[in-house]
């Protein structure tokens, strides 16, 4: 009887935890079928787009993707270090939104000098955000003389949509685009103690984007 109870509890737990995984879709477009070449001494910089009015690609996501890429022996220049070194040409107001502006910027010897100093070969623009789409349920917590507890159930859906655009700073052309959509539902169960069952939507988006970017570049 005890064994049946344990198996049921384990099955129930697996079912609940299974419900906490995010669904992630990755789209990739390459401008050519050739592999993107990255020499051992060359580096990449990952920058967040920050010119949209209602959201901003957050630094935490940029650092997460950069960390994933670094793990694959790809040299990644920290975002803040590059933006400060090239100030004010990659601020939200001045950052190039397209290749024509990048070409004009790279024609400036001082800007080109910084790019050469860091041996930067590729620039990856990341644009996107994580939003809460829908939330429902209710949970109440109370404290009394005999103790306290939480009762109820709450759930919320999160959606992460991020797009990466890869620019070649040597040939001043676009190498490709990647898009990651990650969606999942998190739960909070109030059964005396509040039990959070969180779906790491943003983390999944970061892992997928980082892994995909890793495979995008080939180290020589």
């Amino acid at each position: 009887m005890n064994r049946i109870f344990k198996l049921t509890a384990l099955g129930l737990m697996l079912l609940v935890l299974g419900g906490c995984s995010a669904t992630t879709t990755i789209d990739e477009y390459r401008s050519s079928t050739d592999l993107v070449e990255l020499k051992a001494n060359e580096q990449v910089v990952v920058l967040g787009r920050r010119d949209a009015g209602h959201y901003e690609t957050d630094g935490e996501f940029i650092r997460c993707v950069s960390k994933r890429m670094k793990g694959a022996d790809i040299g990644v220049v920290p975002e803040n270090q590059f933006i400060d070194a090239i100030y004010p040409w990659f601020e939200p107001r001045t950052a190039p939104k397209g290749l024509p502006r990048l070409k004009r910027l790279m024609a400036d010897p001082s800007v080109k000098g910084v790019v050469d100093q860091y041996a930067l070969r590729y620039l990856v623009w990341l644009d996107g955000s994580t939003e809460t789409l829908d939330q429902g349920g209710s949970i109440s917590c109370a404290i009394g003389p005999g103790g306290g507890g939480c009762f109820g159930f709450a759930q919320w859906d999160k959606l992460s949509v991020y797009e990466a655009i890869v620019w070649d700073l040597q040939n001043l052309q676009e190498m490709g685009r990647l898009r990651v959509d990650s969606e999942g539902t998190s739960y909070l169960i109030g059964a005396v103690a509040p039990i959070p069952l969180l779906t790491p939507v943003k983390n999944d988006a970061c892992t997928s984007m980082g892994n995909q970017l890793k495979s995008f570049f080939t180290a020589e």
């Binding site: 920050r50 209602h54 901003e56 690609t57 957050d58 630094g59 400060d84 070194a85 090239i86 100030y87 004010p88 040409w89 601020e91 939200p92 107001r93 001045t94 001082s110 800007v111 910084v114 209710s138 949970i139 109440s140 917590c141 109370a142 404290i143 009394g144 003389p145 709450a154």
Partner: protein, 209 residues
């Protein structure tokens, strides 16, 4: 939605103290002093000389965009503008009053703050804090002839309101707004029609790269 019901009888002194500490974290007032350093601008200055007048009310400027917010931006904005003007002009002097000007430099620029505005998530219904700094630059020739009075707005916002206290968020947004002011000045100063016309008149454009 989370409802917390507290029984009054069970709340001892530790509970009251805990509640006070927790609620003080939700305080809606903010007093911020900006001490940030700004990166050197990446630019080749044009062959123009200028005297920059940082009047005392500018270098000690403390903004009070509303009853509950105070931002001391004086020091930081002087640091930023010194940095940017050094990237715009090949010869530049900084003075605190017009009577200290050496008279050799061809432009005299007096910056001032017109207004500072702040917007919080409860006001803008976005998950960000926003800061606007509206500057005015009085640009004159060495002879005191006005070239232009240039309005220069700058904007900064936090990436996310989450994990920030109000003071930290306003500080972060103000620093971004100051950086934006530097970017705007670098990008647009020589595009001001009156400045462009004056440079054509002085034949400066022909000399500069």
């Amino acid at each position: 939605m989370i409802n917390i019901k507290l029984s009054k009888q069970t709340m001892g002194l530790p509970m009251v103290l805990l509640l006070i500490v927790a609620l003080s974290g939700c305080s809606s007032s903010a007093s911020v002093r900006l001490n940030s350093e700004f990166p050197t601008v990446l630019a080749v200055p044009k062959p123009v000389s200028a005297s920059i007048v940082f009047q005392e009310d500018f270098s000690t400027y403390i903004a009070q965009p509303n009853d509950k917010t105070v931002i001391d931006i004086g020091d930081a904005q002087v640091k930023l503008l010194k940095n940017v003007f050094a990237g715009l002009f090949d010869q530049v002097e900084y003075v605190t009053a017009k009577d200290q000007i050496n008279g050799i430099n061809s432009l005299v620029i007096t910056p001032s703050v017109r207004e500072v505005q702040v917007s919080t998530p409860s006001e803008n219904y976005l998950n960000v804090f926003e800061v606007w700094i509206k500057y005015s630059l009085e640009i004159e020739t060495a002879d005191g002839e006005t070239i232009d009075s240039w309005f220069m707005p700058a904007y900064g916002k936090t990436p996310d309101a989450f994990m920030y206290s109000k003071s930290e968020a306003i500080e972060e947004a103000s620093i971004i707004a100051l950086r934006d002011a530097g970017a705007k000045l670098m990008l647009d100063f020589y595009r001001i029609p009156a400045i462009y016309g004056w440079m054509m008149e002085q034949k400066i454009l022909e000399e500069s790269p």
